[in-house]
Amino acid sequence: MLDATGKALIEVSGLKMYFPITAGVFRKHVGDVKAVDNVSFTIYEGETLGLVGESGCGKSTCGRAILRLYEPTAGAVRIDSKDVLAADANTLREMRPKMQMVFQDPQASLNPRMTVAAIIGEPLDEHTSLSKKDKLARIYELMDQVGLNRDFANRYPHEFSGGQRQRIGIARALALNPKFIVCDEPIAALDVSIQAQVVNLLEELQDRLGLTYLFISHDLSMVRHIADRVAVMYLGQIIELAPRDPLYLEPLHPYTQALLSAVPEPDPEAEKSRRRIILKGDVPSPANPPKGCNFCTRCPKVMDICRQIEPTFHEVQPGRYVACHLYQETAG
């Protein structure tokens, strides 16, 4: 998946999302939680970019900021070369149908008082002027697409299992023929045997409808399955971005190496012989990131320079980007 063929659909540059910390009666601004700190990447049309990282690293915030569900602090996001962050309310509303989201918790993201038909039909009410009959036809079509029985259109979310609820969420996201969908941990709340069903559905829909995904997940093995390229986040920054196979075969950044080595493998013999890289300690607070490289407090290969100077995020091999001093000199 090299850039020569694909057309860039999403371009994110220098995205920053800071949440202010305030203190005292006057809510004086005393600092920022740097949830997303200077993140740049591109997603090409028809591809799936996996965004992985541990909880609290800012991957969900990043996904939401791209869709402007938050107001980002700085940076630019272009979808189809239109600037999302600069758009005023009306323009933004016109852009919304192009970009949709599937949320993590299907229980919390579906209104319990609305029927399935009403949930899937709501974006149609908001953005189209279909007749009642056409709308119902479209709702049925969507339900067929995601594998829900049409007879359940008048049921409520609580009558469905987790996997089916996630299908409702996906149908709602598809309602307006989007080009780009942010999938924010769409399978994290599901059982192992149901996860595969939902992932296969997402892949099928991508093939059929030519969708582009940003697939946010902490499950590295599932991301390896679904993504074409993978970005690894740590403490608000992307520290490595590479095509899938090279990343999993030969991770460059020490954090990616540790992260991959920490994933247990369902094979007893491999597990016995394998040596894990065990990281010491916990992730520092994003309100007070360490000086220099964000990973320097836990890095097994830390050098003096790492505690002083922040490494830049740059291309070390064609299509492979890393932010680490170990690879700094090769770039010249």
Binding site: Y248, L259, V263, I278, D282
Partner: protein, 339 residues
């Protein structure tokens, strides 16, 4: 684990039901297993398969009503725990059987310091004075790898990170030197790098302390690395049980086979399409009269709908509850003679 050693925990025919408005839910149905000294038994299953309920039934931790342990025996230390009084059970919990719960945030008391919560079992069960308990509490925190233990004892749970809290939970469970440790999805709420830390810690502690452990999880990868034996649960029943390498390389129940295939890998071959177990897990209304997996099973045939298969031996120390014979790729012809 030494073969022939007497099991420390022997469960047979355990049945737990929940009374709900929609009728009885048979959450645990005739579960039998044993645990040998020093062994790590992995229990795998999806949510609702009855793995946690089984373990909580053992030591009377389920609220009754709605739960009711209807049948079975749980032999621990020569006593049947299901016939014990509340006071007797309290003596078993802690020094006999320790429990690590899934969510370290909700199972620690937020208004007491970690030190207080660590000292409590030591004073109640081990008869220590407060000063003795304080010393032991510090040792325990050091044992689970929390730096600056003495100062951290004065901290409250919210001052610890998720991984640290789980370490505190482990320290509390270890406080009374239990013979058996039951760990209910202890790493599910944690990130992979923290999970790796905890797994290393458990391996280390096992060597040092030599207790028997039951490790509940839905993650086959976690089990592969640490377990000696594995027990697969589905629909409130044990569907397969055996030594870990046997079950992974030679699974004998269609559910185990399918489960092993649905999990993608971070290493090795990447499959173009994930294989899927179609359908939903069963709703456990009424006593099961058929195989709980039959609706999702590729091998299912008429007998599966009329009879619930019993576990029968398929290899040394390995049994499965299925009518299908995977060697012959045909229904099993007869009940194999088994003990």
């Amino acid at each position: 684990m030494p073969d022939g050693a007497l099991p420390v925990l022997e469960v047979s025919g355990l049945k737990t039901i929940f009374r709900t408005r929609g009728g009885e839910v048979h959450a645990v149905n005739s579960v039998s297993f044993d645990l040998r000294p020093g062994e790590l038994l992995g229990v795998v299953g999806e949510s609702g398969s009855g793995k946690s309920v089984t373990m909580m039934s053992l030591i009377g931790l389920l609220p009754s009503p709605p739960a009711e342990v209807r049948d079975g025996t749980v032999i621990f230390d020569g006593k049947d725990l299901l016939n014990c009084s509340v006071a007797e059970l309290r003596e078993v919990r802690g020094p006999g059987i320790g429990f690590i719960f899934q969510d370290p945030m909700t199972s620690l008391n937020p208004v007491f310091t970690v030190g207080y919560q660590l000292r409590e079992p030591l004073i109640k069960h081990m008869g220590m004075t407060k000063a003795q308990a304080q010393v032991r509490a510090k040792e325990l925190l050091e044992l689970v790898g929390i730096p600056d233990a003495e100062r951290r004892l004065r901290d409250f749970p919210h001052q610890f990170s998720g991984g640290m809290r789980q370490r505190v939970m482990i320290a509390i469970a270890l406080a009374c030197d239990p013979k058996v440790l039951i760990a209910d999805e202890p790493t599910t709420a944690l990130d992979v790098t923290i999970q790796a830390q905890i797994l290393e810690l458990v391996k280390e502690l096992r060597q040092k302390l030599g207790m028997a452990i039951v490790w509940i999880t839905h993650d086959l990868g976690v089990i592969a690395g640490i377990a000696d034996r594995i027990m697969v649960m589905y629909g409130g029943q044990v569907v397969e049980q055996g030594p870990v390498s046997e079950v992974f390389h030679n699974p004998r129940h269609p559910y185990t086979r399918a489960l092993l295939k649905t999990v993608p890998s971070v290493r090795g071959e990447r499959t173009a399409k994930l294989s899927v177990i179609e359908g939903q897990p069963p709703i456990l209304r009424g006593a099961p009269s058929a195989c709980p997996f039959r609706d999702r099973c590729a091998q299912a045939f008429d007998r599966c709908a009329s009879e619930n298969p019993a576990r029968h031996p398929v290899g040394p120390g390995h049994d499965a509850a299925c009518f299908w014979d995977f060697d012959a790729d045909a229904p099993r012809t007869q009940e194999a003679a088994h003990a």
